[in-house]
């Protein structure tokens, strides 16, 4: 048995930073409560027999060659507010 995990408000705030999703105070509290319950349920995986993991996989490769690619204009149609002269626009790097 592994040590039980304790999920608290700080844990949820820490993961939200790792996942880059801002959360409101209310959401942090709701997620803390729900994550405790869900992660507690995940502990049923503590009792699993040793299984040999046989990976029956092979590489799938193709010859390198020229093919059609997407048109620049079509790609940028989804970011029209965020482009500048055919570049993606982002915040300043300070």
């Amino acid at each position: 048995m592994s040590e039980r995990s304790v999920v608290d408000v700080e844990t949820v705030q820490h993961i939200s930073e790792l996942a880059k999703i801002n959360l409101e105070g209310e959401e942090v509290e709701m997620f803390t409560k729900q994550f405790r319950q869900i992660i507690n349920y995940f502990e049923i995986l503590d009792e699993v027999p040793e299984i040999e993991i046989r990976l029956d996989v092979k590489n799938v490769l193709r010859d390198d060659g020229e093919g059609e690619s997407l048109l620049r204009g079509e790609v940028f149609q989804n970011v029209d507010e965020n482009t500048k002269e055919d570049y993606f626009k982002g915040p300043k790097v300070r």
Binding site: S16, F42, L45, V48, V79, G90
Partner: protein, 425 residues
């Protein structure tokens, strides 16, 4: 008829090719890319996203003469069992407007059940074709992992998901599967196994001598309104010459936990691309990159998507990987092994598709774990990469539809189609 909200985008189009789907109307789940037609994944993040290319399955159905009638409603990014997590509002069950259509392909199943389309395409990561097909009283097939190309499917959990057909009859679903099956150079996990099979020809109800295993783990704790119709269907198979056998697959007790850890982990990685720069809604350029991403993702994602990305991030974070992700992979291997052994003795495995009748609208909102647990009978199939079909049983019209699930060995869709067509006759 009341609007059941099965479509996010309706399309006026004419099929102009001759082929297997000539004159057939097909609805497409809104996480499958359609060139020039917005593809939202049921999310505010992609509400204006227009793909610059068609998914392989879309190419194939168009080439077969299909008339595409629209993009269907879904749980946001496929994350849900009810279609209530959609940014565009829930899809209502066409048989009972107080109940959900199921999810995540709720719009695709409801559109077929209500007659808004003859066929539809859904996607199934942990039951997302089979659950809504069962709840709406139609047929759905989750193909073997690799039978259908995923090129152009917006990824949620790549190692688990497949695109598959939904129709009113087993023969209809098999006919659409014939069109979309086959290897694709653009999806290196696709396979050309099974491409020469004529699935539609297998819908002959011929089950004489077929062995059907019923795992004790999948009939335990099932709602009485579900187990009754299930048992009647098994009796019908027996009358037609099938041999029913009870089996046990103890690994399935761990399937829900393993499934959610793997699916959430993959989601946390796949959905990292929605940063408000290349896709999605931008939220100001005032701060630094981290601040901009975090604000875009706060505004663009709904609660269930945030929940799964966060839990996936937790499961993969330093110190927890071995405890969660590695163990989940071990369970996945165990489930695969148990199914392999079972298929030495039985041709197909049968169970109720869902352990409950369709939920009432709003019922699951407060309790995510309860919703996750209702996936107990569908998720093992995705973990093992196997094919499965859901076929409506004869159900009590006062209660709601009940689906019967058959699971087969890899690339043995023919057997599922035979067993399914025997139940519907």
């Amino acid at each position: 008829m009341k609007d059941i909200n099965s479509f996010i985008t309706k399309i006026e189009s004419k099929g102009n090719k001759k082929g297997a789907l000539e004159g057939c109307t097909v609805a497409i789940k809104d996480n499958i890319s359609t060139k020039g037609i917005r593809t939202t994944c049921g999310s505010a993040m992609l509400k204006d996203y227009i793909p610059p290319y068609d998914a392989t399955v879309v190419d194939k159905i168009k080439a077969a003469g299909a008339i595409v009638v629209g993009k269907t409603n879904m749980d946001e990014f496929g994350m849900g069992t009810t279609t209530e997590t959609s940014y565009f509002g829930p899809t209502v069950n066409p048989h009972d407007e107080s109940r959900v259509a199921g999810g995540s392909s709720g719009g695709s199943a409801a559109a077929v059940a209500s007659g808004e389309a003859m066929f539809s395409l859904g996607t199934d990561t942990g039951g997302s074709i089979r659950c809504p097909a069962a709840f709406c009283g139609v047929v759905g097939i989750k193909p073997t992992y690799g039978l259908v190309s995923r090129y152009g499917l917006v990824a949620y959990a790549n190692s688990l998901e497949q695109i598959g057909p939904i129709a009113r009859t087993v023969e209809g679903a098999a006919r659409l599967l014939d069109v979309i099956a086959g290897g694709d150079v653009r999806d290196s996990t696709s396979s050309s196994d099974g491409k020469d099979t004529k699935y539609a020809d297998c819908a002959d109800g011929e089950v004489e001598g077929m062995t059907v295993g019923i795992p004790a783990e999948l009939v335990k704790g099932i709602d009485k309104n579900v187990i009754g119709p299930f048992e009647l269907s098994m009796d019908r198979l027996e009358e037609r010459g099938a041999i029913i056998k009870e089996i046990t697959l103890p690994s399935l007790e761990k399937a829900v936990a393993a499934y959610y850890i793997i699916a959430m982990s993959e989601a946390s990685s796949n959905l990292a691309r929605y940063d408000g720069v290349r896709y999605g809604i931008a939220s100001g350029f005032g701060g630094d990159w981290n601040q901009m991403f975090s604000a875009s993702r706060e505004n663009g994602f709904g609660k269930e998507v945030k929940r799964r990305i966060l839990l996936g991030t937790y499961a993969l974070s330093a110190g927890y990987q071995d405890r969660y992700y590695a163990k989940a992979q071990r369970v996945k291997a165990w489930i695969r092994k148990e199914f392999e052994n079972a298929f030495e003795d039985v041709d197909v495995v049968a169970s109720p598709t869902m352990p409950v009748l369709p939920f009432k609208l709003g019922e699951g909102e407060k309790d995510p774990l309860k919703m996750y647990l209702s996936d107990s009978n569908t998720v093992p199939v995705n973990l093992a990469g196997l094919p499965a079909i859901t076929v409506p049983a004869e159900w009590d019209k006062r209660e709601g539809p009940v689906g019967i699930q058959f699971v087969g060995a890899r690339f043995q869709e023919e057997k599922l189609i035979r067993a399914g067509s025997a139940v519907e006759r």
